[in-house]
């Protein structure tokens, strides 16, 4: 189990190698890379100057310092590369990777195989055992891994899309902007080229996906799409649920109001 002390050790074992590989980076950038505040980083750097190896002569200490608000390391005392991933780190990363559905992306599948190869030999069994205890895989319908790649690389995509409202499937050409979940449902937000407008697409209604080789220019305004709910309609909408469903409805729609007969709406 992680404790504050354990966390500090993990951070310090990563800090020296990181600065060693990226010498002269601003203090704030190093703090961001380490996931700590500026003052926590400065405290960590101070502590590292007391670390070394016996017989603790001046050259036996880690020599890491800040100059002109930039961080340098002169003597890393062989802490030049971080330790390997632990089994727990590997499991967390593998589980997170599966959020996007490893089966749908060759890149994710091969990345996970390579990840397992860099685990310490003694951690592999534990990695496999714990891997069966954490499962975030099913939320990702097929195509998510490839779509996330297309979004981050700003590549145009084409896919068959089943439009529930019209009950038909059409080929869509989309410049993807963001991929997100809403109430457990995955959506792609992007610019529909044929319609000349931004649209939302449910990922589970997409057919075979094709990713273009062309890089799109970055969008001027960052997108943070949302799924329109009842609050977006001009007229108020009232939906009544029977009393037996009231508790479940309140869990999903906390704004639901109780009615006299125990139902909600």
């Amino acid at each position: 189990m992680s404790t504050e002390h354990h966390e500090r050790l993990r951070r310090l074992l990563f800090l020296v190698p990181w600065v060693s590989r990226h010498p002269g980076r601003p203090v704030d950038e190093v703090a961001r890379a380490l996931g700590v505040t500026r003052s926590e980083l400065l405290e960590a750097l101070e502590q590292l100057t007391l670390v070394g190896r016996p017989p603790f002569q001046p050259d036996d200490f880690v020599d890491i310092y800040v100059e002109d608000d930039r961080v340098f390391v002169e003597l890393d005392q062989r802490l030049s590369v971080p330790p390997r991933l632990t089994a727990a780190e590997g499991v967390a990363l593998a589980a997170a990777a599966r959020v996007l559905g490893p089966l749908s992306s060759e890149a994710l599948k091969s990345a996970l195989q390579k990840l397992e190869r860099v685990l310490p030999a003694q951690a592999v069994a534990r990695f496999r055992e714990l891997g069966h205890r954490l499962d975030a895989a099913s939320d990702g319908p097929s195509g998510l891994g490839t779509l996330s790649w297309a979004v981050s690389e700003r590549r145009e995509v084409r896919f068959d899309y089943f439009a529930q409202g019209r009950g038909l499937t059409e080929r869509r050409q989309v410049q993807p902007a963001e991929l997100f979940t809403h109430h457990g449902q995955w959506y792609l937000a992007g610019h529909d080229v044929a319609r000349g407008a931004d649209r939302l697409f449910r990922v589970d209604r997409m057919g075979p996906l094709e990713v273009s080789d062309v890089h799109l220019p970055p969008r001027e305004v960052p997108v943070r799409a949302h799924v329109p709910g009842p609050e977006a309609s001009a007229e108020p909408v009232t939906v009544a649920f029977v009393k037996a469903r009231a508790a479940w409805v309140r869990e999903r729609f906390p704004e639901a109001r109780a009615r006299d007969d125990g139902a909600v709406g």
Binding site: H5, H6, R8, R10, L13, W18, R21, A33, G35, Q47, L48, R53, P54, R78, V81, P82, P83, L85, T86, G90, V91, A92, L93, A97, V99, L100, A107, S110, K114, P120, L130, H132, R133, L134, D135, A136, S138, D139, G143, G145, W149, S152, E153, D160, F162, T169, E178, L179, F180, Q185, D204, M206, G207, P208, V223, A247, R250, E251, R252, F253
Partner: protein, 333 residues
């Protein structure tokens, strides 16, 4: 000497030494920590330090004495240093995007482990990796502020096989019950985290939604000693099914669903099964242990999808459709 400094000093020393360092030499080199006071107390202190280094993943090993060497402790640099994983640009980008997405959702079990893993994976990257344009939102709208800490606590309990006690709210009864649970695994389904484990109150395997836990405590007694064994035949998928119609409410039933001509390309995403072309049009066959959940999905796709076999499934689909129609004051057949 401060414990953090001592542990880092040990790592630096053992990484630099080509030969094992004996306990006697360690006692001399770290005189103030291991060399003074009773031998037993010094040994206990070193054992605690060793355990923490091993927990950090430091490959600290003991080499027995030989004719040529007095033996001792060592850290093999090859086993210690993170090797370049050799990820392609695409592999790194997708892996990092997935990990960063999970982390930025604010509610992912083992979040600290995940943060460290991401840093290590990105260590060899040529430049800073772009934040992902992927978002995970929670699948429930209730206050989820306690969710991250509960997920981390549950994951720690699962990893160490420690029992938890929790207060659990049931929407069905509207009551909160106090439970002791042996946590076996966590799964994310439709944006909602669920725990599977042995419930001592009910005397069997149960599922708990994490957002319905009102209070949670991991057994603080003997943190290094497991409280239970996970049954060898336990599979998370069996208890927390991927598809809603796989919840185990009745014996399995194979249901044929006919599809309109537009649906086959998305049939796998919708039903987890491949469509089959028949003279009557495309079909999928779906095995269900919760027929109502399947019927609900099929009706949501109506008229593009329709339950066509077996007769009891058709009858149930009609009954549910009629209930929906009646609720809306309809007069249809």
């Amino acid at each position: 000497m401060d414990r953090t400094e001592r542990l880092l000093d040990l790592v630096a020393l053992l990484l630099a030494e080509k030969r094992p360092v004996s306990w006697q030499r360690l006692r001399t080199l770290f005189k103030a920590d291991y060399g003074e006071g009773s031998v037993e107390a010094c040994e206990r202190k070193f054992e605690r330090d060793k355990a923490e280094l091993l927990e950090l993943g430091i490959p600290l090993t003991f080499v027995p004495r030989t004719d040529d060497d007095e033996g001792g402790y060592r850290v093999d640099p090859d086993a210690y240093y993170l090797p370049e994983p050799g990820l392609s640009a695409e592999e790194l980008a997708v892996l990092y995007a997935a990990g960063a997405t999970a982390l930025s959702s604010g509610a992912f079990p083992g979040s600290q482990d995940l943060a460290h893993a991401l840093r290590k994976v990105a260590f060899f990257a040529d430049g800073p990796l772009a934040p992902p344009k992927v978002r995970l939102e929670p699948g429930v709208a209730v206050d989820t502020s306690a969710l991250p800490a509960r997920l981390d606590a549950l994951w720690a309990a699962i990893s160490a096989r420690k029992s938890v006690t929790l207060e659990y709210f049931s929407p069905r009864s509207g009551e909160v019950t106090h439970r002791k649970v042996d946590p076996y695994g966590l799964a994310l389904r439709r944006g909602v985290w669920a725990l599977a484990g042995h419930c001592h109150l009910r005397g069997g395997l149960r599922t708990f939604f994490v957002h319905r836990m009102r209070w949670l405590e991991v057994n603080p007694a003997r943190p290094k000693s497991p409280d239970f064994e996970v049954p060898a035949d336990f599979r998370l998928d069996d208890v927390i099914p991927v598809w809603p119609w796989h919840a185990r409410f009745h014996a399995p039933i194979d249901v044929d669903v006919s599809l309109s001509a537009d649906l086959p390309p998305v049939a796998r995403a919708l039903f987890g099964a491949d469509p089959v072309a028949t003279p009557a049009g495309p079909h999928v066959t779906v095995r269900a242990t919760d027929l109502d959940a399947l019927v609900s999905t099929v009706l949501s796709l109506s008229p593009g999808a329709k339950v066509v076999n077996p007769p009891e499934a058709v009858a149930r689909a009609r009954a549910v459709a009629r209930t929906v129609l009646d609720a809306h004051g309809g007069q249809g057949a």
